[in-house]
Amino acid sequence: MTDTLLSVRDLKISFHGAAGIFDAVRGVSFDLGREKLGIVGESGSGKSMTGRAIMRLTPPAAKVSAEHIQLGDVNILGASEATMNDIRGRRIGLIMQDPKYSLNPVVTVGEQIAEAYRIHTHSSSSEARKRAVAMLGAVQIREPERVYRMYPHEMSGGMGQRIMIAMMLVSEPEILIADEATSALDVTVRLEILNLLNDLVRKRGLGLIFISHDLNLVRRFCDRVLIMYRGRVVEALKASELDQATHPYTKGLLDAMPRIHTPRKRLPVLTRDTAW
């Protein structure tokens, strides 16, 4: 890790509702370089909320506080909404689980990518079109010219996810946040998407935050892993050293997964400690 793209210190997110205060994130800190950083946790661990907070896309009811969320020279916490609009998409891209919800159903995918490019670079529409087609090629879509004219509902899951990645990349962001981006995909398609993300980090020097519930996937794909439980990072380690995890939660998660090659009669069940 040579340079830090993003630095998060003591991030806290809480919801104030009728039923009282709910702390979704309780003091999360990490730095992101030009690397693949995995954030792993089960539902309710606050991993997605952490990703949202970086883009300042938390729901209105959420109260966000932190020492800082520093993106280069900008502190995201104090930035104006205009600055944030510029950052979203242009400096930080977000890919979510279901591309269908993120794409406009009545506009062709090519035009949506071109539009994203035009908004951020103020270039001509023919230039934007050229870039969009090139970007479709870059995410390994065959016949980009034909796909340019297709509508989101004509896409398969893997193709839709490539379109989302193309759309995020066309404005050349520094950071990409993938929130369960491959969870809905079949295993064979998933490999191709991971491959693509890996290339992008290597060739373009992106910082990738890979949010997932799948510990095996993250350990094989990412450089570093943060394991979150109930709003806290319980453990942070190199992905290759996950076997030496010391925290009982991490160990419990690893144990609870069914294994292809080492069958066991019963799966060990995680016992949760309220002190974690």
Partner: protein
């Protein structure tokens, strides 16, 4: 049985099962001439990627989708034309998303009493309590609504509901894929325990080879509505697959499986 060996008795027999969706002229074969049989007391897996038709087979067996077959028998009874009351007692289904599968405005207790009422089961209350105990649900959850339960609790309620009629066969449609890993372990253990106690037969649909390896004895691998091959799980995980598609599926699953090797070289090979 003289030698103590359990003889394999087929409880589900399927030959040439096909399901066609769509209107005349725009038809799509979701399941195409599928044949397999499941023995009493075993767990049989149906593995495949989305759109392979694996869930459609379960729905065809239960009659939720129209189908044609040369043989479709459950416990020796032909169910191609009609399914009697007895069928719905013997065969129950557990769905992928337990929140979707439970009535959104009924309490846990009412969810359990519904099958008792419909099937006019004797001793409904005793059965309800027994089912709750079997799945390890606390009595304090009795009057909660599904939205007040966790994902694992919801799936336990759904399983308890399926147990009300004391079935022989459970059709499991991705029963843990909507759940967290630690909860998945609990539910899979529960399913194993129930099988040991009650001698249940499971027909389990899943896309997760890890789950298949853990649960099943035999499995059918499906692609585009067709069974590519049927094989023992030992063979599946130890390189005994003969078909190209099966091998690819295993390779893709193992690429990010428990093997601690780095994924990047594997990815490079794929290119």
């Amino acid at each position: 049985m003289v030698n103590g060996m359990k003889e394999a008795v087929p409880i589900i027999e399927i030959d040439n099962l096909s399901v066609t969706f769509g209107e005349y002229g725009d038809e799509r074969r979701a399941v195409d001439s599928v044949s397999f049989s499941v023995d009493r007391g075993e767990t049989f897996g149906l593995v495949g990627e989305s759109g392979s038709g694996k869930s459609t087979i379960l729905r065809a067996i239960t009659g939720l989708v129209a189908n044609e077959a040369s043989v479709l028998r459950v416990a020796g009874t032909d169910i191609r034309k009609t399914r009697g009351k007895d069928f719905y007692r013997k065969v129950q289904m557990v769905f992928q998303d337990p929140y979707e599968a439970l009535h959104p405005r009924h309490t846990v207790w009412r969810q359990l009493m519904e099958p008792a009422r419909i099937q006019k089961l004797q001793g409904a209350e005793a059965r309800g309590h027994a089912a709750l105990d079997a799945v390890g649900l606390s009595r304090s959850l009795l009057w909660r609504y599904p939205h007040q339960l966790s994902g694992g609790q919801r799936q336990r309620v759904a399983i308890a509901r399926a147990l009300m009629s004391e079935p022989d066969i459970l059709l499991l449609d991705e029963p843990t894929s909507a759940l967290d890993v630690s909860v998945q372990a609990e539910i899979l253990n529960l399913l194993c325990d129930l099988q040991d106690e009650r001698g249940l037969t499971y027909l389990m649909v899943t896309h997760d080879l890890g789950v298949v390896a853990h649960m099943c004895r035999r499995t059918a691998v499906m692609q585009a509505g067709v069974i590519v091959e049927t094989l023992g799980v030992d063979a599946l995980v130890n390189g005994g697959a003969t078909q190209e598609y099966t091998k690819r599926l295993i390779a893709a699953s193992e690429a990010y499986g428990e093997d601690p090797r780095d994924l990047v070289p594997v990815l490079a090979q794929q290119e």
